[in-house]
C-alpha cells in the first residue's frame, strides 16, 4: 500500500519501526502536493523546510535519541494558525506577508512531538465562510468533484486530507468550520469543547466560539492528535483546567448501553432525502453496536443561527479592528491617517469579511447592545440549557452535519443568508461550548460524501471519539478516497 493510503497511526508505527524514513515519507507527500495542489488549491503555502526537518528527525533517530510521539509525521495546518518565521495569512490580503514572531501553542506542542508541518492550508478569509470561496488565494476545489466546494472555512485542510496530500490536518471551528468541510469531503472532523484546546496563536474570528481541532480520516487519528494538542494553556485565559482524558485507550470500549439521542426535528424539514436515508441507516449501525436510541428535543435550535450571526460578527468586528495598516498588515496608499485606515481595510478585506464587520459594528453600536448581543447571549444560555437537559437523558446526540452534500462553486455566493442557514446543525455546539464530531456515512448516489454529527457533553471528547471509532470499525465510508484523476463534474 502506498504511504498516502495509510492512516497516520500506521505511518507513525512504520516510522518508529524504521520501515520508512521521515525523509521518504515527507517526500512522498510533497510529490503528491506537487502533482495535485494546482488543481485543488488546498495549500496556500508548502513548507520550504519540511524535507530539512525530516532529515533532522532521521538523524536523531539514527543517533538513538528518543523522539516525540508523532516523529516524522507530516501534518497540514490551517493558515489561520500562527507558525513562526513564515507567512500566516488567514486567507486574507491583509496578512499576505505577515510572518508571526511566534508559534501557536498547538504548533509548539506538535513540534515538540516532532511532527513535520508540511504546509498551510487554504481557508475562508478570517474563517468567515462555509465554502472556502472567500479566500484571497482563490477557492479550494472538492477532490470528490472539483466543481464543488470543499466546505469552509477549513476547506483546504479537508480537501488536503481527502486527497491524501497530507495524512492529517488541523483546522478551526467557529460555527461548523471543521465539521462541515469534513462532511463535504468525507473525512472525520472534531470540534473539541470550548477551552479544551488552546486558542493562543489562532487568529481570532469570534473569541467565544473558536476552537482548533483535528481533521483526519479516522477517529483514531483524531484521538492521536488530540492527545498532543489538548490541555490547559496558561497563555489562554479561556483555556480549561479540566483534566485531559486518555483519548486513545478508551476508543475500544464497546458501546453497549450508550444512550444516543436523536432530534426528530432535525431529520424532517429541509433535509435532503438521501442525507436523511443515510443518517437513518447509520442509526441502525449504532443500534447494532449496542447503543440505545432515544428521542430528544432541542427546541432552541430554531434560534441558534440568529444568535450565532449576531454574536460571531460582533466579536469579529472587534477582533478585526487591529487590522489597520499600522503594525504588521498590508497598508494602502493614503494622505492621512483616517484615509489610511479606510483604504487599508477597504482594500485589505474581502466582501464577506467587510459585511460581517459592518453587521457586528452596527449591532454593538450605541443603544443596540441590549437588543442584539445581550439578547443573543441570553438565547445562547437557553441553547446551553437545552443541551444540559438532553444530556440528562442521553450521552450523545446524533444527527446530520449538514442539510445537503457539497454544493457547487458559486452556488451560494449571491445569497449569504442561504449559506448561513446551512449551518443549522453545527452552530449550536459552538454556542453551547460542547464537543462535536463529523464522520462520513454512505455517500450520495452521485458519489458525494455525507456527514453524520455526534455531539457530546462538555469535555467528553473521549465518548465522541469512542462512538465514532466503533462506528468506523463497523463501516468503511471513512476509508474511501476520491479516485484520481479527480472528477470534475458531479
Amino acid at each position: 500500500m502506498t504511504l498516502s493510503a495509510l492512516n497516520a497511526d500506521v505511518i507513525v508505527d512504520q516510522l518508529n519501526a524504521g520501515e520508512v524514513t521521515a525523509t521518504d515519507c515527507v517526500q512522498h507527500f510533497l510529490d503528491r502536493i506537487q502533482v495535485h495542489n494546482a488543481e485543488l488549491n488546498a495549500f496556500i503555502r508548502v513548507s520550504e523546510s519540511a524535507l530539512e526537518q525530516a532529515e533532522a528527525i532521521d538523524q536523531r533517530r539514527k543517533a538513538g535519541e528518543s523522539l516525540g510521539c508523532l516523529a516524522g509525521l507530516p501534518i497540514a495546518i490551517k493558515d489561520g494558525i500562527c507558525v513562526s518565521g513564515q507567512p500566516t495569512t488567514a486567507g486574507s490580503k491583509m496578512l499576505e506577508n505577515f510572518s508571526p514572531p511566534y508559534d501557536a501553542t498547538i504548533v509548539e506542542r506538535l513540534k515538540s512531538a516532532d511532527a513535520i508541518i508540511i504546509g498551510k492550508t487554504n481557508m475562508d478569509e478570517f474563517a468567515m465562510g462555509s465554502s472556502t470561496e472567500n479566500s484571497f488565494f482563490g477557492p479550494t476545489n472538492n477532490p470528490w468533484a472539483t466543481n464543488r466546494v470543499p466546505g469552509g472555512s477549513s476547506g483546504g485542510s479537508a480537501a488536503c486530507v481527502a486527497a491524501r496530500l497530507a495524512p492529517v490536518a488541523i483546522g478551526s471551528d467557529t460555527g461548523g468550520s471543521i465539521r462541515q468541510p469534513a462532511s463535504f469531503c468525507g473525512i472525520t472532523g472534531l470540534k473539541p469543547s470550548y477551552g479544551r484546546v488552546s486558542r493562543y496563536g489562532l487568529i481570532a474570528f469570534a473569541s467565544s466560539l473558536d476552537q482548533i481541532g483535528p481533521m483526519t480520516r479516522t477517529a483514531k487519528e483524531s484521538a492521536l492528535l488530540m492527545s498532543v494538542i489538548a490541555g490547559f494553556d496558561p497563555r489562554d485565559s479561556t483555556s480549561s483546567k479540566e483534566q485531559v482524558s486518555d483519548f486513545l485507550t478508551s476508543l475500544e470500549t464497546p458501546l453497549a448501553g450508550l444512550r444516543i439521542g436523536v432530534c426528530r426535528d432535525h431529520l424532517n424539514e429541509g433535509l435532503d432525502v438521501e442525507v436523511k436515508t443515510k443518517i437513518n441507516d447509520a442509526i441502525s449501525v449504532f443500534k447494532q453496536l449496542g447503543a440505545n436510541i432515544e428521542e430528544i428535543e432541542l427546541p432552541q435550535t430554531k434560534s441558534a443561527i440568529a444568535a450565532y450571526y449576531i454574536i460571531a460578527p460582533c466579536e469579529a468586528s472587534s477582533n478585526l479592528a487591529r487590522y489597520d495598516g499600522v503594525r504588521y498588515t498590508f497598508r494602502a496608499q493614503a494622505n492621512d491617517l483616517e484615509e489610511m485606515y479606510r483604504n487599508t481595510r477597504g482594500q485589505g478585506f474581502g466582501d464577506e469579511v467587510k459585511q460581517r464587520i459592518m453587521l457586528g459594528t452596527y449591532a454593538l453600536s450605541s443603544g443596540y447592545y441590549e437588543a442584539y448581543y445581550l439578547k443573543a447571549s441570553k438565547v445562547r444560555r437557553m441553547i446551553k440549557q437545552d443541551y444540559d437537559e438532553a444530556f440528562k437523558k442521553v450521552d450523545l446526540i446524533l444527527g446530520p452535519t449538514t442539510p445537503t452534500p457539497a454544493f457547487k462553486l458559486g452556488q451560494h455566493t449571491q445569497d449569504p443568508l442561504a449559506m448561513y442557514l446551512a449551518d443549522i446543525y453545527t452552530v449550536s455546539a459552538n454556542l453551547a461550548g460542547i464537543p462535536a464530531i463529523s464522520v462520513p456515512v454512505e455517500p450520495s448516489s452521485t458519489g458525494l460524501p455525507i456527514g453524520l454529527q455526534l455531539q457530546g457533553r462538555a469535555f467528553e471528547e473521549n465518548t465522541l471519539l469512542r462512538a465514532a471509532h466503533q462506528f468506523q470499525n463497523e463501516t468503511l465510508w471513512h476509508m474511501a478516497s476520491p479516485s484520481e484523476p479527480w472528477r470534475t463534474q458531479s
Binding site: S303, Y309, D336, M358, G433
Partner: protein, 102 residues
C-alpha cells in the same frame, strides 16, 4: 424592532468601522445588512425567562490569573519586522490631519 440601517446609516457604520466603501458597495452592503438584520431580529420573538443570565461562552469556574513576573519582550528588530513603515525605532503612520491647521 431596532431600525434596520437607516439609523445609523450604512455610511455611518462604514465610518465607524473605518472601511471605505464606494457608492455601489454601500448600496449592496446596505441591502445585505438589511436582509440579515431582518433575519436575526427574529430573536425579538424569543421568549426568555425574566431572570435568565447571558452566557458568554467561557468556562465560568476558575480565575485565570498570572503572577507579576517579567518575560522577555520580543526584540525590537523582530517586532518591527512586519511593520509596513518604520524607521527602525518607531512605527511610522501618516499624520492625523491632511491640512496643517492646529
Amino acid at each position: 424592532m431596532p431600525e434596520t440601517p437607516e439609523q445609523p446609516t450604512v455610511n455611518q457604520v462604514a465610518k465607524l468601522a473605518r472601511i471605505h466603501l464606494d457608492e455601489q458597495q454601500l448600496t449592496s452592503s446596505g441591502e445585505k445588512l438589511k436582509q440579515i438584520l431582518e433575519f436575526v431580529s427574529q430573536l425579538e420573538q424569543a421568549e426568555l425567562p425574566k431572570d435568565i443570565e447571558p452566557f458568554f461562552g467561557a468556562i465560568e469556574s476558575v480565575n485565570a490569573i498570572r503572577e507579576d513576573n517579567l518575560q522577555t519582550s520580543v526584540p525590537r528588530e523582530k517586532i518591527l519586522d512586519n511593520a509596513p513603515e518604520s524607521d527602525g525605532e518607531f512605527y511610522l503612520v501618516p499624520p492625523v490631519f491632511r491640512n496643517t491647521d492646529s
